[in-house]
Every structure is written in C-alpha cells, then in structure tokens.
Assembly symmetry: C2
C-alpha cells in the first residue's frame, strides 16, 4: 500500500469513528503533513483520494470538509420514483399480501448471524437498556403483586402525561386525554385503521410505503392504492387529489417524517396542504411518526397534528425506535376517533403490560432521554454520511440514493437490470442481509431498489459487506 | 354471643384458614368437647349451626365433614339456564356490543379500592412473581442488547418446547411446530377467530359465555349466536346441532374446562361429541383453555384437541391465570390454520416481547411450576368451598349457585326480581365490586346473575362484603 493510501485510510477511519463529524473541516494540508510526518504532496494525494471516495469535499478558500451526505445527496442522486409516474398510469387498488415476503426476510435475518444491513430495527446496543431495566426492576420490587387491571386502556396516567409533555415542548398541540397506550406503533396503526375503515374499503398509501402500512391494510381485508411519493417532498399531493376525485378513499396512511424507506422530512407547507386536502374530503389521515425523535436537523419536525383542525389525524408513534424496542410501548392520538380506538385496544389485546409502561414513564421523568437522543441523532447522522459515501464508492455507475433527513435507513436505487430479490439471495449466501425493495410496494416498481440500515456502528466487516454488495450489483447490472 | 356461637365461629374460621380442608372430618363431638372445655351439648349446638351455615355436613356413622362445595353444590343448586330454553325459542344471531359494559366495570373495579369480588383476574399475590422477575432480570443482564427480531413469530423455541412438554405429559397430543406464542390468550382467540371467519359470519358461543369471546366477535364485525349451556355438562350439543342445521356457522367458541362464568368441566364424552359434531360439518372449534392448570380434580382435564382428528380445533391458552398475568404470555395451537394464525400474529402485534418469553421458559425449565400449581389449586378449591358456604349463609332463599370444578369464579343466580346492574351500583357505593351477569350474554337472560371471584384470601372484610351483598339482594328480591 502506498503512503498516501495509508493516510487516506486513516482519515477515512477517523471520519467513520466520528473524530471528524459531517460538515467539519479536516486538518489543513500543512497541519496533516506535520502531524503525520509526510510530505505535502502525499497529503494532497491522500485528500484527493478521500474526495474521490466521496468522504470529503473541498470548499474554495476554506479547505477540506467532511462531506455531509444529508445535505448534498438529494440533489446529486435523487431516485426516480417509478417507471410509471402516477399522473400517467392511474394506480389500481389492490388487495394486499406483502407480509409473507417481509416475514421470510426477517426470519432469514434472524437465522443468519449476518451483517444486519437488512434489519428494519435500530441497533439495540445504542438503547439505554440498562437504565430502563433498572426502573423496571425497581417497580417490580415495589409492587409485590402487580395487577393486570392496573393501567387498563387508555394506559398508565403518568406515562401519558410524559408523552403529552414532550409533544407540548415540541409545539405539537396535544390533549393528554387523547393519548392511548398501545403495543408498539404496530398496534396503534392497526387500531387506527380499523377505527376509520371497513373491510373492502380502499386506503391510499405512499409508494414506496413502509410495509407495516400494507400489513395493516392486509390484516383488515382492505385495499391499498399507492400514490407516487417524492424522495424529498413526500406524497404527491396532486396525484392524491386525482385519486380522491376518481374513487372513494376511506383513509390515507403516511409517514411524513423520515419515511421508511425514503428518509424524507415532508416540508411543513406540504404537510399542511396534505391535511387540508384530506380534511376537505373528510378523509382521516393515519400518521406514522415513529422516527419523530431521530431528526438530523435543528429541531423536532412538525406533525400532521399541527395542522389538524377537524380531529381527522390519527397520530401513531412509539418508543421502539428511540428508547427501547423490547418494551413495545407505543401510542395513538386518534383525534375524533379516540373512543373507538380505545375500545378496539381493549378488544385487541386487553391491556399493554403495566410494568413496561411505568418503567418508561419513570425513565422519561427521571433520566436522560434528551441526552440519549442527542447522542443517537449524532451517531445516525454520522453513519448516514459514511454509508452514503461507501455506497458511492463501491456500487457501480447508475446507482442512486436517498438523502435521509432522519432515521437510520438508506434507500438505494440500483441499475435497472438488477433484481433485488436475486441480490438478496446472493447476499444472504455471503452472510449479508439487505431489505429488498419489493417489500415496500405491491407494484413491481421497486424491484431494483434496496434498503440499507446504517444504525449499527461502522466496522471493517460492514465495509467489506458493502464492497461485496457493490461487486454483486456490478455483476448483475 | 352465646358459647356455642363462639365455638361455631372459631370452627368456621379454622375451615376458612384451611385448618380443615374440604372433605376432611372435623373433630368428633367428644374430642371438641375436651379440646375446648365445653359441654357435649354446646358442641352439638355449635355443629348444628355449622351445618345450617353449610360449612359442614353429617355423614351417618362417620361424623361431621367439611362440606365440599365442588362435589355437592351442583346437585343442590343447579342454576336454571335461561328463561327460554334454546329448543323452544330459537336463538337469534346478533351483532355484539358488550365491551362497553365490561370496560366500564373493569374501570370501576380499578378506580375503587374495593373488595375485588368482581375482578375477572386471579389474586396476583399468589403468583411466584419474585422468581419470574429474577429470571427476567438475569436475562436482561445476560443480553446486553436484546433485539426485537429475536423470537419473532412463532416465538421463542425453548418456551414453545416447554409448553409442548407440559401438554405431552398431560396426554394432550401436540406438535411443537403448531404452537404460536401470543400476547395472552386474548390475542390467541382474536387471531384464531380471524383465521377461520370473516366479517358478517355467524359464530356459535356458549350462553352464558366468557365476554372475551363476544369481544373477539365484536372486534371482527361478526355475529354471535348463543347456545344454551348446562352448568355441569357444558354447551347443549343437541341445541348446537339444531342451530347448525338451521344456518351457516363459521366457527364455534367454547371453554370446555372451568368455563368462565359457569365453572364446569365438560365430561370427556361430551367433549368428543362436540368435536365430532363440528367436524361432521367442517366447522372450526376455538377452544379457550386458560384455566387448564387450575383443576380441583385429580388430573388435568382433557381438551378438545384430544379428540381432534381433522385439525379443526384452534386451542388457545395462556400463563396469565396460573403463573403471571403481567407478562402477558399466551399461545395458540391452531391445527390446520397454523400458517394463517402465525401470519395474523405478525400483522397484529409483530412479535411478543422476547424477555418475558424467555423468562417464562426459564421458570418452566428450572423452577417449581408444579409445586406452585399444587398450592394454588388447593387454595382455590378451599376458597370455592368457603365462598359457596357463605353465599348460602348470607343470601336469601331462591339463590342458586354453580359448583366450580376448577378456576376461581362462582356463578350465582339471584332471585329473579333482582337486577344485577342495580346490585352492582349499590355494591360499588359500598366499595364492593361484583361481575354483573349481563357481561356474559347479549340476551337478557342473565340480568339476575352475578359472578364472584374467590381467588383472594378469605378475610373478615370479604365476609362482611358478602353479608352486605346478601342484605342488598334480600332487599331487592
């Protein structure tokens, strides 16, 4: 290995480990030359290599800066939406069955001790699980005989108060009496959908959409209609308006913040437009906001609830992505459908276990949730940047990417000839998992897309996995 | 207080505390006279009073025995089923909405720090919660970063193995691959019903039936048809056959062991008859067997699964009544509907939390579940006997009772003019809760019935509450 390559690798490693954060300036050429005891020429060579790898960029008269994938990737690599834009070929409502593919994917991810690029879940080692378990233990000791009847729906009052407080602090209008504790956001979404629509009804979703939305529709025997969704602006409101004009839509399910898989944060103006369009037709909006705390920007983004004047937004969220996945604590704020959702919660699972509810409430009240979140946000933002740079480095020409503004998944469009199900199988044989694009739609538009999870710490193994993936893609393209 | 009354009270107390168990002989008149230093005449007087209270009975040439409510009450106080036997007035399928009443009842039970005769749940202080929490803590410590993806449906393999082992040991044929871990039996029942029937379908249930069955039907927009159910033999198979002849039945939901509220154990021959009748018409049977471990007899009773040759029995159970309610671990063995139920589990709540699954598995493998169960069974049997005797003592003539053969609830038929909803309100005002009969049916047949929970230790407060209830009933009758 040449000297300049060695230096470039060291710098890459430093960026990966967060020594230099996205947007930060790296040492000047002169400084680096002194620090590493190498010539100016070697440093220039190394920095050029870093630039070609997509890890740094030069700014005139300023020096070299760690590239911020979040800020730059959208403009560079905006994924095309679909072979057929919605305006040209009207989407057709379809009965749904994507759960088989999703379950088998999750199973193989579990079965193989593989690189978890395909996991839909955040790296649990970042969670403050030790602190939360301590609260749970203390509660279990305090209450010799915890009764199932405690904390029946709507749920533990203190937990509800803590959730309401966080919303209020972030400018989201909230009435604590509206909050119903559920078993993760999955149950919140299921109950919300059942509260507003009947079997056979048609529900509008984003395309691509988070598959849990399709699952909820499938479970209740409803039909989904996919609406083109822009990787930066979110659901195409024009296209949705056309769909509404053409047929009866019972509900619209969206993920306005850090959508899985696209990662966008819908601009405020468009959130408002969406709420107003739906309100004009009295169509309930089911808002999945599980990534609300995982923003890369300055502040927590607004929600559809901020623009809801008619109680038509059923807001669903959970702690599973930001605090603890194993406690399975989620909630719904179902607007005017509160009574129905509460009743359905009772019918569906009777109650959410009490100790986890109280443990989370205690943690929120007494512990460092905000500190934890600041750390996680920084880590994810950093790792988004590294993952973006690595895909750019290892994947063949014609590859495009999302520019996640929060959350922990990257959406990658491969050259059109690549079948992500074949890639998935080939990767699995090499102990690498990916999320094939077909999980996110009932249409065939995302066959050459994959979703990559960047929540896990970046290691040499991850890098090797990404290189292997890139090689496989190149061979298939 | 007279001397013989004092002695009678002491003996009553001894029975209550389990000094003398149901079926045991109490000291002879001569022994008692010596032990207590009172005359033979006083003892005879006291024993006569005990007999009139229903606490002991005389057996010719043998002496006085603690009355076994379980063995004797059925013959003495067999509740009438309904004003209109099913054979005369055909039951009419009805859309269901009993959940409002049930939820408000549970709420008032929680809100009032009241005598919990109305609670549907067992006294949690009998659970080995300390041991189970220890296992959970050990697991949480062992697995720094428990992943949500572990123990996806069907569930933790070791837990499934332990459940299968218990069935096998009790003569229930079971294939571990059939077991799917759920969030309590509530979810198992919901998923089972959704797997076999569609909205609008008609489902046959017992009358009275455990309200969770009605909830499941209500949740899925189905219709329930109630079939007369005998307090000792279970669902009236003749009446069910007539219903099946008359209309299409999508499923039949029953609780063959220690039915809530009736407490019967369906005889084996009738279980077989029921399975055969349903199999002849290819009708799936959803069997709720949550009280399977709480038998008063010699051995665990058989299940409908024992007679199922076509895979039409969907067996549902949980640990919530016998080990821990707060962990919410249940399961389904759905026969030929296994694939559908597993998929619905995934769609409904994604996964059952992993730590509780593993904690229960560890407890089952390493701890004293059987010893715990032997204790609980003895306690419940004793307390069933005491509760029966006390109702007999304090309630007015015309009161009849079930003879529970397991579980922890007593079903009481009050004189016909008593409205149990009014009784419920009046009792609540005196900090006593009861389960009003109307929770167990959509028909008006059980307005003068109540369900009483005898799982809590018998105290002076319980006795006072029962006396108050008896007085209220007498006044209303």
């Amino acid at each position: 290995m040449k000297l300049y390559e060695k230096l470039a690798d060291e710098m890459t490693e430093a960026v990966r480990r967060g020594v230099f954060a996205a947007g930060e300036r790296i040492p000047s050429v002169r400084q680096a030359s002194q620090q590493h005891g190498v010539s100016i020429k070697t440093v220039l060579h190394a920095y050029a290599l870093l630039e070609s790898r997509g890890i740094v960029e030069t700014r005139p008269q300023s020096g070299y800066f760690v590239r911020d994938a979040v800020a730059t990737a959208a403009a560079l690599d905006e994924p095309r939406l679909s072979r057929q834009p919605a305006a040209q070929t009207p989407p057709v409502a379809a009965a749904v069955d994507v759960s088989r593919l999703v379950l088998s994917t999750l199973r193989s991810i579990r079965a193989h001790d593989a690189v978890p690029l395909g996991s839909p879940y955040p790296d649990p080692s970042l969670f403050p699980w030790r602190r939360i378990n301590q609260y749970a233990n203390a509660i279990a000791r305090r209450h010799a005989s915890w009764n199932l009847i405690d904390d029946l729906p709507p749920g533990n009052p203190e937990l509800i108060r803590q959730i309401a407080r966080r919303y209020a602090e972030n400018g989201v209008p909230v009435d604590p009496d509206e909050i119903i504790i559920t078993l993760g956001a999955t149950e919140a979404i299921n109950l919300s959908l059942q509260a507003v629509a009947k079997p056979g009804d048609t529900v509008a979703v984003e395309s691509p959409t988070y598959y849990a939305m399709l699952h909820a529709i499938e479970r209740l025997g409803m039909r989904a209609i996919e609406v083109a969704t822009h990787p930066v602006h979110g659901i195409d409101i024009e296209a949705l308006a056309q769909v509404i004009a053409r047929q009866k839509i019972a509900a619209c399910m969206v993920m306005p913040n850090f959508q899985n898989p696209l990662g966008f944060q819908m601009p405020d103006a468009r959130k408002q437009q969406l709420v107003e369009l739906l309100a004009a037709h009295e169509i309930p909006a089911i808002e999945n906001d599980v990534y609300q705390e995982l923003y890369f920007g300055e502040a927590r983004p607004s929600t559809l609830k901020n623009y809801d004047t008619k109680g038509l937004v059923l807001h669903c969220a959970s702690f599973s992505k930001s605090l603890t996945a194993s406690y399975r604590i989620g909630w719904a704020m179902p607007g005017r459908y509160r009574t129905q959702v509460e009743k359905l919660k009772f019918l569906n699972t009777l109650t959410t276990p009490s100790v986890p509810q109280v443990a989370v409430a205690d943690y929120l009240r007494q512990d460092g949730y905000d500190r934890h979140l600041r750390h996680v946000r920084k880590v994810y933002r950093q790792q988004a940047s590294i993952m973006t740079a690595m895909v750019r480095r290892f994947f063949p020409a014609g590859t495009r990417m999302s520019a996640p503004q929060g959350g922990y998944v990257l959406w990658v469009e491969l050259p059109e000839r690549v079948d992500s199900m074949r890639l998935y199988q080939a990767a699995l044989a090499r102990s690498i998992t990916i999320g094939p694009g077909m999980m996110f739609s009932m249409r065939d538009d995302f066959r050459h897309f994959i979703r990559l999870n960047y929540s896990y710490p970046w290691t040499a193994q991850t890098e090797a996995a990404l290189k292997t993936l890139g090689d496989l893609v190149a061979r298939m393209a």
